[in-house]
């Protein structure tokens, strides 16, 4: 196993950051209109009062209130000494009240009133808003859009705000710059782009250095330069303890490595070091490891510079799957959460640290503390939100059989404010999720060998007595994808990639193989299971296998030949009681929309005669 110089728990690391890197402020000045979201570096004071003098708050006449005493409906008072004022005009010296013009009758040079004025009525007194020398905001104030108007009114046009300059060094011989299509084995240098965008949004000034190959001399030179030019340095990748991982020894050579290896997953190969007084952080190369180290280590480090971030919102949610975790490691699991029948449900996403899409798909994450072995399915756990709560509440959780058209349904329901989160578990996985109420809807295509009927027999068996509605997405063609236009009958002897057990595609394949009398073990690779149609097509395209079974649209998307096996009814099941849920309504409407038919026809391999048709499970 790889060895880390000094593995520490996340809590130890966060304590060490607070202890070793003392609070320090770095300032810059930004124009007021760009100051939204920035944090003030010093208290701001009003240089003058607003208003500076008494102003009329109404159109009317400025008077001495004493002159009006005794006026009444039956006892008009005639005023000789007054001044005509409009709203916002200065009240001339000596007057202490304004009478609205509607309440005044002019008679030549005189004004007749029938109601006494109380002193200071309809007057905006000097300093009503703020008095000269008063503090507008203290330091450490995060400027909100509506604060901008006040600051402008009080004469503040440039705002001293907190910042910190961060040098970010990408390392790795295999890197190509973002924007370049990688050759096989090359990796797009994306982590430092994420770091720059993230830290800039917190108020940091980021400087990205050119990618440095895995060469200790070049890495040393770049770190030395970055330390001289910045308040914090991040070295991306090369932070493991392997033979080509030079970050730790180079930092140790220039200064000090305080931590090498943090008890977090993903993100273990992190480094906390220091060169002179500058923190130097080693950020691991796997994207989700980099994300975790940014959030759990680098963002807390920035708060030592006053660039704080609000605590995330935390909800209690019911976990849909058991998650095992190693004691001694704090693990972070990305989630799709949604609200199902008044409780929050959390669906764990792929835990692969290279799967950036888990980050994109997630709207929350779970922290498994390092003293726990994990959580059980059904347990209620605290989850931290990655989107506003109202957006999480609009999530539509779809679990079951995969089809490329689900991406497009996600697009169509967005217009109704619904975020569709789909998990690919195969049709049977979807039925079980629907049964456990851990999803809103399940796409499926389960052929009953008894009567050739789709889906209904399975729902009757697994959700007996429950009211379930099916909406037909399409009738779609399944077939053999290959480079050599193989058919089902050609499979024996050709390498194959299969779909997982419980998927409708696997059931259909097995059904047809039985019909044809073909033994599964005559097909090499029959046991190799992938979870999506596009994954199967990709395995064929890359040469991993000669053939697989998938829907037409997946083969077409990758430009591969496709030989049909059969047409199946691809439907989406939901509980009839949820028909009025605005998320379900949006989904059913999206399926029935002309736009969706057009999308299906563009993808190819779908018959749309039944699209949008509803069936009640009897």
């Amino acid at each position: 196993m790889k060895r880390y110089l000094s593995l520490k728990s996340l809590r130890e690391v966060q304590d060490l950051i607070r202890r070793e890197f003392s609070p320090r402020q770095v300032r810059t000045t930004v124009p007021l209109v760009q100051a939204v979201g920035r944090i003030t570096a010093q208290p701001l004071f009003a240089g003058y009062s607003v208003p500076e003098v008494h102003l009329a708050a109404m159109d009317g006449i400025a008077v001495r209130s004493g002159d009006t005493w005794g006026a009444g409906e039956q006892r008009p008072v005639t005023l000789h000494d007054f001044a005509r004022v409009n709203t916002g005009n200065v009240i001339p010296a000596g007057y202490d009240a304004v009478i609205m013009i509607e309440d005044v009758r002019m008679a030549g040079e005189n004004a007749i009133i029938r109601k006494a004025a109380s002193s200071w009525q309809h007057v905006r007194p000097a300093g009503e808003d703020i008095a000269e020398s008063e503090m507008i905001v203290p330091s450490g104030h995060r400027i909100r859009p509506h604060d901008i108007g006040a600051l402008a009114a009080y004469g503040i046009m440039e705002v001293p705000v907190l910042t910190v300059s961060i040098g970010i060094i990408p390392t790795g011989t295999e890197l190509v710059p973002a924007g370049t299509r990688p050759l096989p084995g090359q990796v797009v240098e994306s982590n430092t782009v994420m770091a720059e965008a993230w830290l800039t949004s917190l108020g940091a000034i980021c400087r990205r250095y050119p990618p440095t190959p895995d060469d200790p001399e070049r890495i040393r030179e770049t770190i030395r330069q970055a330390v001289a030019e910045n308040d914090v340095v991040i070295v991306s990748a090369g932070s493991s303890a392997g033979t080509r991982d030079f970050t730790a020894p180079v930092i140790a050579g220039l200064g000090e490595v305080m931590v090498h290896g943090v008890g977090i997953k993903p993100g273990k190969p992190a480094i906390i070091g220091r060169v002179g007084s500058v923190p130097v952080i080693g950020m691991p190369g796997y994207p989700l490891s980099a994300l975790t180290v940014l959030r759990e280590i680098i963002v807390p480090l920035l708060s030592q510079f006053g660039l704080t971030t609000p605590d995330p919102e935390i909800l209690q949610a019911e976990l849909t799957a058991t998650l095992h975790s190693e004691v001694g490691t704090c693990e972070f699991v990305l989630l799709s959460i949604g609200m199902i029948r008044n409780r929050w449900v959390a669906v764990p996403l792929s835990r692969g640290s290279g799967v950036q899409m888990s980050g994109v798909r997630s709207n929350a994450f779970l922290r498994i503390p390092d003293d726990l072995e994990g959580f059980e399915a059904g347990q209620t756990v605290p989850v931290e939100l990655l989107v506003p709560r109202s957006q999480a509440a609009s999530a539509l959780l779809v679990t079951g059989s995969h089809d490329p058209s689900l991406d497009y349904l996600a697009e169509l329901v967005r217009a109704a404010g619904v975020s569709l989160h789909s998990s690919h578990t195969g049709s049977m996985g979807g039925i079980l999720a629907l049964k456990r109420e851990s999803c809103h809807a399940s796409p499926m295509h389960l052929l009953s060998p008894d009567d050739g009927e789709y889906n209904i027999p399975y729902l009757q068996k697994y959700l007996p007595g429950e009211e379930v509605t099916l909406v037909c997405i399409a009738e779609r063609e399944q077939g053999i994808v290959s480079r050599d236009r193989l058919s089902l009958a050609d499979l024996p002897g050709h390498s194959f990639v299969n779909r997982q057990k419980g998927s409708g595609t696997r059931l259909l394949l097995d059904y047809r193989l039985r019909e044809m009398g073909v033994a599964p073990d005559s097909i090499p690779g029959y046991d190799r299971e992938l979870t999506t149609h596009i994954g199967v097509a990709l395995a064929v395209k890359t040469g991993e296998a000669e053939a697989g079974m998938c829907v037409y649209s997946a083969a077409q998307a990758l430009g591969l030949p496709f030989v049909p096996v059969g047409t199946e009814r691809y439907e989406l099941a939901f509980r009839t009681g949820d028909s009025d849920d605005p998320r379900i309504t949006a989904l059913v409407q999206a399926i029935a929309s002309p736009e969706f038919r057009e999308i299906l026809s563009g993808l190819g391999g779908y018959t749309t005669q039944e699209t949008g048709v509803l069936r009640q499970v009897p």
Copy 2:
């Protein structure tokens, strides 16, 4: 009363916006690193798979898993056909598994293993992250910092995002540009600065036009130009129905006024109009009216262009004061909220629509629906947050006697993450708030005429039997502020501004006047009440009165002569049971800090011998 062409309720206006301005998308493209917080204008797809080929997930050897079958601790297997790979290397064709280097013993050209490899172990399969043609995000997706890395990895460097171009026209002869110190009667043009900063932060592209005087011809020309150049036009001020309010007639002349006057407060004089297909919104000139119209009308209008904003978080809080509101008007009241003994408490701020500082001081607001006459003190009401919930939870509510040093305490506790919100109700108001548990702490200086003791007799009387602690802020000098160095004895016959009943300053004044045998009604202006020291000093500075009573620091801040009347003990009371509350701890520590003593000595008029001394109310 002013007459509006067509007054509508807020709900009617919001419905009208949805109905009359059909959804429409305006797109622009931003570089990826600047895309955080922007909303995608179209779905984004992966142009290639990540990874494109199978990669080693560990350092080791790539093997055919079939060759390893049967290997065991006691049954080593010698491999001749394998390839050395490091993490991230391409798996050469033909191999389907990786064995970690730690589990391999090299023997010349051969590798000896003692454990069988399962197929695809330690391999990152092609498309594991994303497959070519898959959708990364749908349109309408708000890009988060961690999405940036994924987009970079999938080759997206420019992001098509939603925007809308907004022309903002300031009108008003009295305006001076932000950054210019206004002369008396002039107003800084700050509302359009706020609008630009706010709407830009939502993704709009704002163009501010030069201020236009109150001249219908010039306003007409500018609106005509702005309509030609933008998707939406905002006309700031001139939207009332007075004689100098030209916005509505000019819009009506160019197109159509659909709404003039909205049943909201502040913000009633709003206009919804249209010139051609371009919405033209009249935004009132009072700052908090402008803020309300921005939030309640213009932000919802932007969502017709896809620039949505997340719903605000809503909390249930206990109101500390009764709020009356007119039926037919939806009123918005700015609040300082905080958590006191596990319940949220909401303190209403000034309702003056010119008081921008209420916006700055607020961390939440209350919506009084138009079918209600208001809410009673003590009622639990839904409040909408203007800061993250965690920040609201850190609010320290201080109610009572005002002193300029409170601003500096706000500054000092910020370092501990505490937001100090102070309301100036006078000492007695503070005691009552403490009694009702509607504040955390109360500053006070209440002289008992019986024994010359400060504060304790009042706390014993009003909070009998309760455990209360006092911390001394300072002993401070009160005196007469004037332009002519008047003393207490000079007051009769000179115009005066007083402090409100129940304030310690008023009590001290009355005590001394009685001592001297001076009758209050010999002092003109004795009934004119202001609520802060600095307000009193300002009234003297502007000539509203010849004299007032305030603390030395207020007179000094405005450069006015000060004749001492006496020294008093200015203390802060809190419930002893809250001593461990981190907000109270931070406040007590701030008061006792050397920095605070230095600040007091800079302000002047304070003796700091007792500063930080704690007393228990016996």
